[in-house]
């Protein structure tokens, strides 16, 4: 099996030759990752593993918005005991309601957002007691 040969064609287009066949691919760097479109499939390569690990560690104590969204309701109060799967916060984005649920049994330590607020992904909305 031979390695694929990639020829830049300009403006994010690439000619890919492998296994005796050639196709056009598209590639671009955006928001810290490399995005490739080939054969109707999208590959997103990166961000780096270390950054991903940090995010996972943070999520154990705090819950974050998965995308930019508006906080519709905060269903809990600091000090409240919650069970796995309980809805803690309701977000709304692109006309859809997105419930943020508790990943486990825990106590709400702090609430870091308020109703009506537009929140960004990755920013903590609420902190839970340690597992």
């Amino acid at each position: 099996m031979s390695d694929p040969v990639v020829t830049p064609l300009g403006r994010g287009r690439f000619l890919v030759s492998s296994e005796g066949r050639q196709r056009v691919a598209y590639g671009v760097s955006a928001s810290g990752s490399t995005w490739v479109f080939l054969d109707g499939e999208v590959a997103v390569i990166g961000p780096t593993a270390s950054k991903a690990r940090t995010t996972a560690a943070d999520e154990q104590a705090s819950l974050t918005a998965p995308m930019p969204a508006t906080v519709v309701a905060v269903a809990v109060q600091p000090g409240q005991k919650v069970g796995a799967g309980d809805v803690l916060i309701r977000l709304e984005a692109m006309k859809m309601e997105l419930p943020i649920r508790s990943p486990r049994d825990a106590t709400v330590v702090a609430i870091k957002c308020r109703e009506g607020e537009l929140v960004q992904p990755g920013v903590p909305l609420l902190e839970l007691s340690e597992a």
Partner: protein, 495 residues
Amino acid sequence: MFTKILVANRGEIAVRILRTCRVMGIETVAVYSDADARALHVTLADQAIRIGGAAPADSYLSQTTILEAARTSGAQAIHPGYGFLSENDAFAAACAAAGVTFIGPSPDAMAKLGSKTAARRIAEAAGVPVVPGAVPRDQSDAALIAAATQVGFPVLLKPSEGGGGIGMKEVHAAADLASAIAQARREAEAAFGDGTLYVERLVARPRHVEFQVLGDSHGTVVHLFERECSLQRRHQKVLEETPSTAVTPALRSRMGAAAVSLAKAAGYSNAGTVEFLVDGHGDTAHFYFLEMNARLQVEHPITEAVTNVDLVRAQIEVAAGRPVPWTQQQLLQRGHAIEVRVCAEDPRHGYLPQAGALALYREPAGPGLRVDAGVTEGSEVSVHYDSLLAKLVAWGETREAARHRALEALADYPILGIRTNVPLLRRLLEHERFVAGDLDTHFLQTEASALIPIDDTPSADARAVAAVVQSRPPASSAEISGAPDPWTSLRGLRV
């Protein structure tokens, strides 16, 4: 005929309406929110007017601001597109009071049909069959629970106002009803300002087939055949096609006649869509009236593809008082058309909507293809509006020809920078059940594992391309502005 039209919408539908206005030699006025100041629709109009903040309530739903924009720009008519104010009878009435033509049905017909309950009564009176259901006058939880129990589980909870699947909840057991009522009511209030709910029996394995109609102010109504819209996710359509594989010529003529009599009974003018559930197959299949959408539909291009008409042009003509431009006999269905909705969402992560910039966006082209898009390369997809980026419509002499054109087109439709459902749409078009035309409204749920594979590992070829992208400096301005110089860029790079 109007000499200036204001388009009170955004995204792909605003772009599509503006194009027809230009072809008709009508001047255009676009309106935009702060989030859309540089959006595609704004750049395509002769004039653009800011109407407020990013939130729809502050801009695209602001009736007084939009009417003021029509007055200051001298537009004689407003095209509302779909969504936003398109099915708001109070807005249609306000337009009439301000001396501006609303391109759509009369406020009276809209009010009757906009309420699902009143629409059901019209259908029943016109002899059109309806799905068993109820709208309790008493909207308390207890009364809704009693109504659902009477209709019989499973039930579908729907907002009485609005559409687009917002606020609709399937409930399979009485125990889940209370939380579903609360959520449906909240979503309906947020989206339509009215939390009135309606309870309907859920038909098992139903097909969703709708008929396009067009009426004029002289009492003529014609239909432009059906659209099959069974491929849905949470009541949002994903793929539509015409003709429907479930509709035989005899069934088509029965359903078409029912659609026309319903529209006539409602005193309907302009473009509208009569939605039916089809139960069973063949000439004797049952169909039930679901609702009438008093507006242009998202999926109208497939009808245009098989009938060779411009529905927006016809809308503008009948709004100006002209008769329906065709007789029923002149309208013919030729070939097959498939539309897929390209959305900014990530099917791998629960179809989470995606917001961000389109770092790379290139539309496919070729015989039998049409792309209606509201975005272009560099566009910012905002969190404030729905996730529809573009509609790809493929036409062919046969269903297979249209399907292959759609598949090829999606393989040549790179959208990078945010996740989209393009890979899912390709797998959908290749699915053996889709190829066989064996569809129902649960298809995307039941076939999810085939449509969303777990293995997300990039291919060796994709990794090779990524390595080349990473090894190159950010694109130079020369590379962006012009064609590459083959003598400098045609160099094989092995990785």
